[in-house]
């Protein structure tokens, strides 16, 4: 009885509007499906960006002088990883600060530079030019850059002695921001 009454209560206009809504939902879904299908060549990017509080992603690189520079080889001491490139303007701007961080480490933490989208020759030249005092690894195939989801250098990751990311700075780092990050890393400067 109640159902019948409700049916009667629906006016012609309401029925038309309901039809329109259904059509619009179908159209919206079709548009969405179309958009998804149009990207059939590849799926959307996965959302596994490294975040503060999670374990740093392992990598296995070599330094300019051929030494192993995997994440494991730095375990036991806090680690600052700076992604940079010799052609990158903001990287050059922040490099004195990264160099200073390394110079002041005094065995309490370590600094590793990872050069991305760059050649051995160009990075070697830059390391000399900028008088870098920390080891520099070459990410020649961009595997680490991609794993750490870096669109463009610079980016700096602060990883504690257990391998947990404690801070991330995308873009050039300031000395204030570096102090804050080192504090989060448990290293008093």
């Amino acid at each position: 009885m109640k159902k019948a009454r409700r049916k009667q209560a629906l006016t012609h206009g309401q029925l038309r509007a309901f039809g329109l809504l259904t059509a619009s939902v179908v159209l919206a879904l079709a548009l969405h499906a179309h958009s998804v299908w149009a990207q059939h060549v590849h799926p959307a990017p996965p959302s596994s960006a490294p975040v503060v509080g999670t374990a740093a992603i392992a990598f296995d690189l070599k330094t300019l002088d051929g030494k192993a520079a995997g994440l494991e080889s730095f375990r036991g001491k806090p680690l600052v990883i700076n992604f940079f490139a010799s052609w990158c303007d903001p990287c050059r701007d922040e490099m004195p600060l990264i160099n200073e961080l390394s110079a002041k480490a005094a065995g309490n933490y370590q600094v590793l530079g990872i050069a991305v989208e760059d050649s051995r020759a160009a990075v070697s030249e830059y390391a000399k030019e900028a008088k870098l005092v920390f080891p520099v690894a070459l990410d020649l195939n961009s595997t680490v850059k991609r794993a750490y989801r870096i669109f463009g250098p610079p980016a700096t990751f602060f990883i504690d002695r257990q391998g947990i990311i404690r801070d991330i700075v995308i873009g050039p780092i300031t000395s204030e921001r570096a102090k804050e990050a080192m504090k989060r890393l448990g290293v008093a400067k």
């Binding site: 590849h42 303007d89 463009g152």
Partner: protein
């Protein structure tokens, strides 16, 4: 009451259908639109010298000309290893790279012996910053490239120009930027009057941070017609530029990536109505809202069809990682406004993508770009948009690199389309070239 009910459903309808996406959706391949049937891969340059960063252009007499960079590996005399411009050779591995040129009279089937363009040993820059070539109407080649500044700083570089000397060789390169260690990312284009227009990103006014756009004109003998002159500011410090001409050269269009005070990077078009002497206020091509403080060095690409429509493609991350990809827009009113952006290919991973486009004689647009494949390797992709602005070809993978393929260059003459790109694998690089007949 009934009226209000119906109106509210209409409101929901519009929100659902139009509010969900401000952009035009990524175009699916149009039924019947064909893929390009490329020929086999070929290599350019000396494979033992890590060739990279090719650029292709047809000369007026129909030769396909390629310029690229490769290692300079001649042993360097002991004790004379200074600076970034040297009279001898250099020890390997060395940042010293040569600018090379070769041409083909058969659309890339066979190539002339490559010639070195730089007389002195220089660290000729590559990546998006590689050498570019343009021709005067009498087929004389002019090549421009950049080298790091005197202290080796690539971001404080110098613009070098060499031209064919009429004796089968090239003149010694000369520096174009009047203020030392200030230029980067040079491009060169032939103006309709036969003179050449050069543009680069400049930092002679070294702050505020975003860079300036500088131009210079030279005649067909290489003589300077102007000094260096500034026509814009607020440019991204490391993103390639694009130029196009209309009205016999009176109208000059330029595209670049702007950076505002909040580090938001949008692409703009600049228009000159006096042959490049001055430019109007930049017109935003799309408000992508890409805010990034780092260095995602990938600039836009500009083309113009017979109707005068402008076509631009670019890479942006947009306002979220999910938005990132290669986009396209067009202007049908001479650059006063642009259509909503269309996504050509979504980013498959956090990666800066490089793109280029060329416009065919039948107004078909050919897009090439890099993106990651399912194995997380960068590959080159292409698709086309027909002159009707609606018919999109399928996305087509052109490279099959075991390492990473990137920075595709395109050249098009009549129905011959050529593409070249750099492949890197560990410490090695190579230039790969493919060719296709289009419009059939």
């Amino acid at each position: 009451m009934k009226l209000r009910f119906t109106h509210s459903w209409f409101a929901i309808y519009f929100v659902l259908v139009f509010g969900c996406s401000a952009d035009l959706p990524a175009p699916s391949p149009t039924q019947g639109a064909k893929s390009l049937n490329f020929g086999a891969e070929r290599r350019l340059g000396n494979g033992e010298k890590n060739p990279s960063t090719p650029f292709l252009r047809y000369s007026p007499d129909g030769r396909l000309v390629a310029v690229w960079t490769e290692d300079h590996d001649t042993p360097w005399p002991q004790g004379s290893h200074t600076g970034h411009q040297r009279m001898g050779g250099d020890r390997a591995p060395s940042p010293m790279r040569n600018a090379m040129i070769a041409w083909s009279k058969d659309g890339g089937e066979s190539w002339s012996a490559p010639k070195r363009l730089n007389h002195t040993v220089e660290a000729v820059q590559g990546e998006e910053n590689g050498p570019k070539v343009a021709f005067t109407p009498d087929n004389k080649a002019f090549v421009v490239w950049s080298i790091p500044g005197v202290k080796g700083d690539k971001t404080r570089a110098n613009i070098r120009l060499a031209m064919e000397d009429g004796k089968g060789g090239f003149t010694a390169a000369r520096t174009l930027n009047e203020v030392q260690d200030a230029g980067r990312f040079p491009i060169i284009e032939t103006m309709p009057d036969g003179n050449l227009l050069l543009a680069w990103i400049d930092r002679r006014i070294d702050g505020p941070k975003p860079r300036q756009l500088y131009l210079m004109k030279i005649d067909s003998r290489g003589q300077a017609l102007t000094k260096n002159y500034q026509v814009g500011q607020g440019l991204c410090e490391c993103c390639k530029l694009g130029i196009n001409f209309a009205d016999g050269g009176r109208t000059v269009y330029m595209v670049d990536r702007e950076v505002d005070a909040n580090k938001i990077r949008n692409h703009v078009l600049r228009k000159s109505l006096d042959g490049g002497a001055s430019f109007g206020a930049p017109v935003e091509i799309s408000n992508d809202g890409w805010q990034v403080p780092s260095c995602p060095h990938s600039g836009p690409s500009l083309g113009r069809d017979r109707r005068g429509h402008l076509h631009v493609s670019w890479f942006t991350q947009g306002r979220s990682e999910q938005e990132a990809g290669i986009y396209y827009s067009m202007s049908t009113d001479g650059g006063k406004s642009f259509a909503p952006r269309t996504l050509i290919h979504r980013n498959t991973a956090p990666e800066t993508l490089y793109n280029n486009l060329v416009v065919g004689a039948d107004d078909t647009i050919y897009f090439a770009w890099s993106n990651l494949d399912t194995n997380s390797r960068s590959q080159i992709y292409m698709r086309t948009l027909a002159a009707n602005g609606r018919t999109w070809s399928p996305i087509q993978q052109i490279s099959n690199s075991k390492g990473n393929a990137s920075r595709a260059a395109l050249a098009l003459k009549n129905n011959q389309l050529q593409i070249a790109w750099t492949e890197t694998d560990g410490e090695d690089s190579r230039v790969v070239f493919r060719s296709v007949t289009v419009g059939q």
